[in-house]
Symmetry: C2
Subunit: 168 residues, 2 copies
């Protein structure tokens, strides 16, 4: 924008607006199907379907939740891994049924924010991570306490989806 003298104003915005969409999505879902996690999933599949984007769905087996006895039991861990895998596969099937054409289920093990930021994102290379903001009462720690960690530390953009918007 030029001022009245035809000269450039120092405060003029000198960038050109560009269309900006994301291209590759990762959604984190917790094992407890918390409301915000399901809403994050709904947003992820809606966006992936609308823009024909590849979508990975990740659930993390939170080993910090296990007591020492269980965490040392190979049978217990194998069972838990099967449960987490079954869960993420159900989410993946729901995404496919909804109309997302490229769906990849992923699982990890450890502290969710840490594993997602340091392992899952570098492997899957999304440009947008979608997470819920809260967990159910009495649920495991999953996303709630991890969302701001991921928003700060992820190598990609992050959307934190609220369970319900206060105003709606």
């Amino acid at each position: 924008m030029a001022n009245k003298m035809g000269k450039q104003d120092n405060n003029t915005l000198d960038f050109e607006v560009q269309t900006m969409n994301f291209h590759r999505l990762l959604v984190a879902v917790d094992e407890d199907d918390s409301t915000s996690s399901i809403r994050a999933f709904n947003y992820a599949v809606t966006t992936a379907k609308a823009f024909h984007l590849p979508l990975a769905i990740v659930t993390i087996l939170e080993t910090a939740d296990l007591n020492i006895y269980d965490s040392l039991s190979p049978e217990f861990l194998a069972d838990r891994r099967q449960e987490v895998l079954a869960k993420v596969n159900q989410y993946a099937q729901k995404a496919v049924d909804f109309g997302v054409t490229e769906v990849t289920p992923l699982i990890g093990e450890g502290k969710p924010g840490n594993i997602i930021v340091k392992e899952i994102i570098p492997d899957w290379r999304p440009d947008l991570l979608i997470v819920g903001s809260e967990t159910k009462e009495k649920s495991r720690l999953f996303i709630g306490s991890q969302a701001s960690y991921m928003a700060q530390n992820a190598a990609c953009s992050v959307i934190v989806v609220r369970a319900n918007d206060q105003f709606y």
Copy 2:
């Protein structure tokens, strides 16, 4: 999903996938036009245009940056307010030129995260806040240190847009 015996599995996902889009957007832009701020703006106008959504654009005059002398000077503050207003109006014009039909420029004064969470969001009532993740070197504090505060405390969903995705 029923198991082989036709009974419900305890781990079955019992929710129905629903289309989930946002309806009312707020984008925060810093005064320094940092790369992530411009990217956040690009994402905001792209989304607002594509889905025909109302978009508010907010810039905050950061009074914490002012020295005591300036902050006590009515003339200085009046000038700074004019600058911030001129800036947000330029962003608003860019949004209109890009094709967003309902654009509202907003300004605030204080600590950005705090003002946006406690004043701007309750007033404008967006269901999605869009912020950049970083600032230019030597820039004011704006979004960088405030993004995770907003992601944690906003009453709506929050997307933190990176200046550039590490992988692209």
